[in-house]
Amino acid sequence: MMIPTAAGPIARDDLRVEFEIKEEDMAFSVACKWFHDKEEVRRDVWVNMKCGLDATTQQGKIGG
Protein backbone atom coordinates (compact mmCIF):
# COMPACT_ATOMS: atom_id res chain seq x y z
CA MET A 1 0.00 0.00 0.00
CA MET A 2 1.28 3.43 -0.94
CA ILE A 3 0.93 6.26 1.56
CA PRO A 4 0.58 9.84 0.26
CA THR A 5 3.32 11.99 1.78
CA ALA A 6 4.97 15.35 1.22
CA ALA A 7 7.62 13.47 -0.74
CA GLY A 8 5.05 11.71 -2.92
CA PRO A 9 3.54 8.23 -2.44
CA ILE A 10 5.79 5.95 -0.42
CA ALA A 11 5.30 2.24 0.29
CA ARG A 12 3.93 1.64 3.77
CA ASP A 13 6.74 -0.76 4.61
CA ASP A 14 9.30 1.98 3.95
CA LEU A 15 7.74 4.27 6.52
CA ARG A 16 8.21 4.33 10.27
CA VAL A 17 5.39 5.67 12.42
CA GLU A 18 5.60 7.48 15.75
CA PHE A 19 2.73 8.76 17.84
CA GLU A 20 2.90 11.91 19.92
CA ILE A 21 0.23 12.62 22.52
CA LYS A 22 -0.12 16.08 24.03
CA GLU A 23 -2.52 17.52 26.54
CA GLU A 24 -3.54 21.16 26.57
CA ASP A 25 -5.94 22.98 28.86
CA MET A 26 -9.00 22.23 26.81
CA ALA A 27 -7.92 19.50 24.43
CA PHE A 28 -5.66 16.56 23.96
CA SER A 29 -4.12 15.67 20.66
CA VAL A 30 -2.61 12.70 18.93
CA ALA A 31 -0.11 13.25 16.14
CA CYS A 32 0.77 10.37 13.84
CA LYS A 33 4.22 11.13 12.45
CA TRP A 34 5.44 9.24 9.38
CA PHE A 35 9.18 9.04 8.76
CA HIS A 36 11.03 7.99 5.61
CA ASP A 37 14.58 7.31 6.68
CA LYS A 38 14.97 10.12 9.24
CA GLU A 39 12.83 12.66 7.45
CA GLU A 40 9.28 13.35 8.58
CA VAL A 41 7.21 13.17 5.41
CA ARG A 42 3.70 13.22 6.80
CA ARG A 43 1.91 14.16 10.01
CA ASP A 44 -1.75 13.57 10.77
CA VAL A 45 -3.29 15.22 13.82
CA TRP A 46 -6.44 14.50 15.80
CA VAL A 47 -7.48 17.11 18.34
CA ASN A 48 -10.08 16.07 20.86
CA MET A 49 -11.83 18.92 22.61
CA LYS A 50 -12.26 17.87 26.22
CA CYS A 51 -15.00 20.36 26.96
CA GLY A 52 -16.38 23.61 25.69
CA LEU A 53 -16.91 27.05 27.16
CA ASP A 54 -19.37 28.36 29.68
CA ALA A 55 -20.36 31.76 28.32
CA THR A 56 -21.04 33.06 31.81
CA THR A 57 -17.61 32.38 33.24
CA GLN A 58 -14.45 34.42 33.01
CA GLN A 59 -12.94 34.44 29.54
CA GLY A 60 -10.10 32.04 29.05
CA LYS A 61 -11.41 29.67 31.67
CA ILE A 62 -12.66 26.32 30.58
CA GLY A 63 -14.89 23.71 32.05
CA GLY A 64 -16.87 24.54 35.13
Binding site: S29, V41, R43, V45, V47, L53, Q59, G60
Partner: protein
Protein backbone atom coordinates in the same frame (compact mmCIF):
# COMPACT_ATOMS: atom_id res chain seq x y z
CA UNK B 1 -1.32 39.29 21.36
CA UNK B 2 -1.92 35.58 20.98
CA UNK B 3 -4.93 33.49 20.09
CA UNK B 4 -7.04 32.67 23.11
CA UNK B 5 -10.04 30.70 24.26
CA UNK B 6 -13.20 32.75 24.65
CA UNK B 7 -16.87 33.10 23.97
CA UNK B 8 -16.84 36.31 21.97
CA UNK B 9 -18.22 39.36 23.75
CA UNK B 10 -20.16 40.37 20.66
CA UNK B 11 -21.84 36.95 20.60
CA UNK B 12 -23.18 37.43 24.12
CA UNK B 13 -24.73 40.70 23.07
CA UNK B 14 -26.01 39.28 19.81
CA UNK B 15 -27.67 36.39 21.60
CA UNK B 16 -29.87 38.94 23.30
CA UNK B 17 -30.41 40.67 19.98
CA UNK B 18 -31.57 37.46 18.37
CA UNK B 19 -28.90 37.29 15.69
CA UNK B 20 -28.08 33.62 16.13
CA UNK B 21 -30.45 30.72 15.64
CA UNK B 22 -28.93 27.34 16.41
CA UNK B 23 -32.18 25.47 16.20
CA UNK B 24 -35.78 25.90 15.08
CA UNK B 25 -37.30 29.18 14.09
CA UNK B 26 -37.32 32.70 15.43
CA UNK B 27 -40.55 34.56 14.67
CA UNK B 28 -38.78 37.88 15.07
CA UNK B 29 -36.68 37.22 11.99
CA UNK B 30 -37.72 37.44 8.37
CA UNK B 31 -35.88 34.29 7.39
CA UNK B 32 -37.01 31.47 9.64
CA UNK B 33 -34.21 29.11 8.89
CA UNK B 34 -31.41 27.72 10.98
CA UNK B 35 -28.19 29.64 10.49
CA UNK B 36 -25.11 28.08 8.98
CA UNK B 37 -22.15 28.07 11.32
CA UNK B 38 -18.59 27.54 10.15
CA UNK B 39 -15.26 26.75 11.74
CA UNK B 40 -12.07 28.47 10.58
CA UNK B 41 -8.51 27.72 11.67
CA UNK B 42 -5.90 30.33 12.55
CA UNK B 43 -2.15 30.35 12.72
CA UNK B 44 -0.28 31.01 15.94
CA UNK B 45 0.28 34.56 14.72
CA UNK B 46 -3.42 35.33 15.10
CA UNK B 47 -5.13 37.27 17.85
CA UNK B 48 -8.56 35.68 17.75
CA UNK B 49 -10.39 35.83 21.07
CA UNK B 50 -13.00 37.63 23.11
CA UNK B 51 -12.57 40.82 21.10
CA UNK B 52 -13.21 39.14 17.76
CA UNK B 53 -16.50 40.30 16.27
CA UNK B 54 -16.49 38.50 12.92
CA UNK B 55 -14.59 36.05 10.79
CA UNK B 56 -11.51 37.49 9.12
CA UNK B 57 -9.06 35.89 6.74
CA UNK B 58 -6.20 37.64 8.52
CA UNK B 59 -3.85 35.01 9.94
CA UNK B 60 -6.14 32.20 8.80
CA UNK B 61 -4.27 29.06 7.79
CA UNK B 62 -3.61 28.66 4.09
CA UNK B 63 -3.30 25.57 1.94
CA UNK B 64 -4.58 24.35 -1.41
CA UNK B 65 -6.89 21.88 0.33
CA UNK B 66 -8.14 24.38 2.90
CA UNK B 67 -10.90 26.71 1.73
CA UNK B 68 -10.72 30.21 3.20
CA UNK B 69 -13.50 30.56 5.72
CA UNK B 70 -13.14 26.99 6.89
CA UNK B 71 -15.75 24.26 6.90
CA UNK B 72 -19.45 24.27 7.60
CA UNK B 73 -20.32 22.80 10.97
CA UNK B 74 -22.67 19.85 11.15
CA UNK B 75 -25.45 21.12 13.37
CA UNK B 76 -27.59 18.08 14.11
CA UNK B 77 -27.80 18.16 17.88
CA UNK B 78 -30.84 19.43 19.71
CA UNK B 79 -30.08 22.36 21.98
CA UNK B 80 -29.70 20.85 25.42
CA UNK B 81 -30.92 22.09 28.77
CA UNK B 82 -29.97 20.30 31.96
CA UNK B 83 -28.70 21.25 35.40
CA UNK B 84 -29.63 24.91 34.74
CA UNK B 85 -27.33 24.96 31.74
CA UNK B 86 -28.24 25.39 28.08
CA UNK B 87 -25.70 23.92 25.72
CA UNK B 88 -24.90 23.44 22.05
CA UNK B 89 -22.32 21.21 20.41
CA UNK B 90 -21.64 20.43 16.75
CA UNK B 91 -22.84 16.94 15.92
CA UNK B 92 -19.77 15.91 13.93
CA UNK B 93 -16.05 16.45 13.84
CA UNK B 94 -14.44 19.09 11.67
CA UNK B 95 -11.80 17.66 9.38
CA UNK B 96 -9.49 18.65 6.59
CA UNK B 97 -7.80 16.14 4.29
CA UNK B 98 -4.27 16.25 2.90
CA UNK B 99 -3.27 19.62 4.27
CA UNK B 100 -0.12 21.24 5.60
CA UNK B 101 -0.26 24.06 8.12
CA UNK B 102 0.31 25.00 11.74
CA UNK B 103 -2.67 26.12 13.77
CA UNK B 104 -3.67 26.65 17.38
CA UNK B 105 -7.15 28.12 17.13
CA UNK B 106 -10.64 27.40 15.85
CA UNK B 107 -13.09 30.27 15.36
CA UNK B 108 -16.76 29.35 15.13
CA UNK B 109 -18.80 31.99 13.38
CA UNK B 110 -22.24 32.52 11.88
CA UNK B 111 -21.91 32.63 8.11
CA UNK B 112 -25.62 33.40 7.75
CA UNK B 113 -25.30 36.59 9.79
CA UNK B 114 -22.44 38.50 8.21
CA UNK B 115 -19.87 36.07 9.60
CA UNK B 116 -20.49 37.20 13.17
CA UNK B 117 -18.14 35.56 15.65
CA UNK B 118 -19.39 33.02 18.17
CA UNK B 119 -16.44 31.56 20.06
CA UNK B 120 -12.77 30.74 19.70
CA UNK B 121 -10.92 27.75 21.02
CA UNK B 122 -7.17 27.54 21.51
CA UNK B 123 -6.19 23.88 21.44
CA UNK B 124 -2.42 24.31 21.51
CA UNK B 125 -0.05 24.47 18.57
CA UNK B 126 -0.65 21.68 16.06
CA UNK B 127 1.33 21.08 12.88
CA UNK B 128 -0.03 18.97 10.05
CA UNK B 129 2.17 17.88 7.15
CA UNK B 130 0.61 16.39 4.02
CA UNK B 131 -1.88 14.73 6.32
CA UNK B 132 -5.34 14.95 7.81
CA UNK B 133 -6.45 17.30 10.58
CA UNK B 134 -9.46 16.34 12.65
CA UNK B 135 -11.13 18.29 15.45
CA UNK B 136 -13.34 16.04 17.54
CA UNK B 137 -16.05 17.79 19.51
CA UNK B 138 -16.74 17.24 23.21
CA UNK B 139 -19.68 15.27 24.50
CA UNK B 140 -22.97 17.08 23.98
CA UNK B 141 -23.91 17.43 27.65
CA UNK B 142 -24.47 20.16 30.21
CA UNK B 143 -20.98 19.83 31.68
CA UNK B 144 -19.05 19.48 28.45
CA UNK B 145 -21.00 21.01 25.55
CA UNK B 146 -19.00 23.25 23.27
CA UNK B 147 -20.94 26.41 24.18
CA UNK B 148 -22.83 26.53 27.44
CA UNK B 149 -24.89 29.15 29.25
CA UNK B 150 -25.30 28.33 32.90
Amino acid sequence: MANSTAVCDSFKEELMQGFHVFEGVNPARTANTVDVFKGALYTTAGSVGAGTTAYSASNEVSHANYTAGGNAITNGNTIGLASNTAYWTPSASLSWTTVSFTTDCLLIYNSSQNDRAVASFNFGTQTVTAGNFTLTMPTHASGTGLIRIA
